[in-house]
């Protein structure tokens, strides 16, 4: 899409307003789903799906990512890769039970007793 053609810009303005309305609807749905009292994993999944849809609308339409140049996509792809690493590293440490109070270890209780936990 051309960002210098006034006719195209006028068309885009309509899109911006529709996306704004969709974001409002998304917010209402998020709050409404919260009132349903779903089990925690379901509630987290639902909220994150709605937030991701809303975030994608902001990024693709308002930030014009739906029609950007290769260099922008390239830098964002790198960011996503590093973001995944950033999220994975602490999660892997939890899987290893590092830092967990329930990790198996021997503790000394008093002078004579040893117990496993």
């Amino acid at each position: 899409m051309s960002h210098s053609d006034p006719a195209e810009i006028k068309k885009t303005v309509r899109t911006y307003l529709i996306v704004g309305a969709a974001l409002y609807v998304g917010t209402i749905v998020t709050v409404a789903v919260n009132h349903v009292h779903l089990v925690v994993p379901m509630a987290i999944t639902a909220a994150l799906i709605i937030a991701s849809v809303k975030g994608s609308l902001v990024a693709s339409i308002f930030m014009h990512l739906s029609h950007e140049k290769r260099w922008i996509y390239g830098s964002l792809l790198l960011t996503v890769a590093f973001f995944i690493v950033l999220l994975s590293v602490p999660l892997l440490t939890t899987l290893d039970n590092i830092g967990s109070p329930n990790a198996s270890q021997t503790v000394i209780v008093g002078d004579h007793m040893k117990m496993e936990r």
Partner: protein, 196 residues
Amino acid sequence: MDMNIPYTVEERPDTGLYNGKLGVWLFLASEVMLFGALFSAYIILRSGSVEWPHGELSIPFGTANTFILIGSSVTMVMAWASLKLNQWSRHKLFLGLTLLLSAAFLVNKYFEYSEHLSKGEGPWHSTFFGLYWTLTGLHGLHILGGMTVMLYLLGPGAKLHKTNPEQFTNRVEVTGLYWHFVDLVWIFLFPILYLL
């Protein structure tokens, strides 16, 4: 000798982008990592905790602020589109509205913070409130940063529109990119802190 900085308006032949746009996107990439680190801390602290508090934050306050920020994103993009359509007074109106909405967001946040502090729920109160204050505090600082730039564009920075309207339009566009990112972060902060 020509001392002008190149590619402030025209696009570089190799990237197809003007300098400011590439610069802001690289800055936003670093911002993703900054907030990503804090989201990562949230995930590890929450998944490692035996219990997690619910209903500590006011959902009406959070919802109102979500509506305000979405509205400000719409007015911001309209401010840019108005410049593209050579509608200067509409541009000023929309940019002013964006500034007003961002101020409303901070006023709302002030009342919310005051309420928590009066109950002794500062960042020292618990892991949850530590995360809440850090994440929303950093986000609030980003709102302040955006407001400063908008004030400049409405005030002394507006003079550039007379001498170099295209460069001014580009400045508004990159400010908008930053502002939409701040909105995007809040779109994720609202459910994870207020609802889940």
